[in-house]
Amino acid sequence: MTAVELNNVWKIYAGDVAAVKDVNLSIQPGEFVVLVGPSGCGKSTTLRMIAGLESISKGEISIGNRVVNDVAPKDRDIAMVFQNYALYPHMTVEKNIAFSLKISGMPKDDINKRVQNVSEVLGLHELLKRKPGALSGGQRQRVALGRAIARDPKVFLFDEPLSNLDAKLRIAMRTEMKSLHQRLATTTVYVTHDQEEAMTLGSRLVVMNAGQIQQVGTPIDIYNYPNNRFVAGFVGSPAMNFIEGKLRVKAGETHFSRNGLDIFTGSVSYLPDTESDAVIGVRPQSIMLVQKETPGAIAATVDQVEPLGDQMDIKVRIHDDTVIIARVPLQSGVDTGLQIHIAFDAEKVHFFENSKVGARLNRRS
């Protein structure tokens, strides 16, 4: 049994603009799936198709093994939390939470019990008689959450629910949502453009771009083994460094050079023999400061230094002015204008085809 299943789902707008292309996805009960991608990638549209707010152009969506293509949103047994909370401004918090229950004809006593329960879980007791206009952003967010929980749906749908909050609150809410999900264990589909949020929240991530799924997997999986150059660049902060060049792999020996300079030499597992144009991807966290004599060391000039507490991001330039960002310990004594040497952690370099898709070359184990 799957909680939500998308089979070859397309969304095509007037004028043949495809917002979602052939999406296949199967979500297990109790999973917390995060759809993540840059704005306009089709993640929201996908979510809205699950909710029934957008019609499905092609394909099939089922919720709880029931095809819901022609089922009205209210009958899909879902609840949704919107980016701007979408609270009814003329109703009190209590009424907002109780609204859908009332519509469904639930007896008054049961409604009251549910509202009590929900407000207990979310700490809304003080706010029940207030109207949304009198609440802070975080409180509104909580009420929106409460409204969704009260329905006790089969699936929660979240459409960038935290993006209107300030940074501190956002992080606090993340934790709260995570623990909430652990308590309720309700299937959740969550949309965000913030990869960090996606990584912390999701039990599984679905990275989307240009209407297509790029990769599905656990956060660790995706971080460590991005399927293609897009995913690699999208996930992780600061973003992965990409350097185009020539790749030659022969007998387990990998050699990557650019404009005549050796960038990387070493042995990379699961990389088939080849000799081609390629792109090497290195996360700033996988770059080490080394001595000049270290094998594979590259000379670089420090352009900029950005301290971040006990670490710092440095922007360096190598011989042909290619810029590389690296994250190094604060105590390393690096400063602007200095000549230093860097090297890449052989276990953590990624190779991609130098093509539009940029598929991964070094297969995972």
């Binding site: 029934g52 957008e54 019609s55 022609d70 089922v71 009205a72």
Partner: protein
Amino acid sequence: MTKDTKAAPYLFLAPFLILFLVFTLVPLFQSVPLATQHTFGPDASIDVGMEKFSRAFGDPRFWTALRNTLVFTTGSVLIQLPVALALALVLNRKHVLGRGIFRLLFFSPQLVGLVFVAVLAMVMFQKQKGLVNSILAGGADLIRGLPIIGGWLPSKSDILGIPWLETLAMPALIITALWMYAGFNMIYFLAALQNVPKELEEAAMIDGAGPIRRFFAVTLPSIKPVAIFVVLLSVIGSIQVFELAYIMLPEGMGLQDSGLTLVTYLFKNGFEIGDLGYATAIGWLIAALLSIAAITQRVLNRSEVRL
């Protein structure tokens, strides 16, 4: 999307569309053939082609009505709107006491309603005993003793006999409209002024611009879209002036047609004589006049106003 969601928008539009079709579009289309007929009421009619239009162009009373209407429109816009803007500017200042009360007060004539304002004005502009002439005569008495001006003043009985409603219909109408609408238009200007960003004014103040400069350099350009909207509304409304004149003036138009307006003339022809054809032809000419006004404002304001 389910079936009833797809039907819903059409069901929502249906009441409007049906009523609009029946009570606006049908008469609109009927107005074309009707303008080419001579009628006596809704049942008896004869086709006369374009005769009604040629008659209008050769009809001195039509031209009188057109001239009066344009005088009223010009007078209304040129006097009323600056007054409204001035009141709004004053009331927009933070340190004015009782702003809410003044705003409500200036707006209050609007509540009386056109018909009732007309009745009130009819009584107030009476000769001899009307309030307007009484006040004017009283005022004249007060300053009669002054040198130079005092000697030029007309006599009391002349002032009491000022024939507002007979031959001075246009000034009387313009004054009445000023009284009634200045406060109403003030509300529009006030709303616009409240949307002028404070920073702009402050920046200009820091740049050393005086109040007058600030008004022309900052305030006026900021409220230009609303100002043009209000001018257009006033022009359109003034061109259609009817109740005020019809109820206020003897026989609905004063002496020598001094207060005959286009819509009054339309009404008289259509409903006091029964010639609906001529009334409709005049209606088309009014429509032409209004579209000239609308096009003018569009040209003047190409970029700012989006309807």
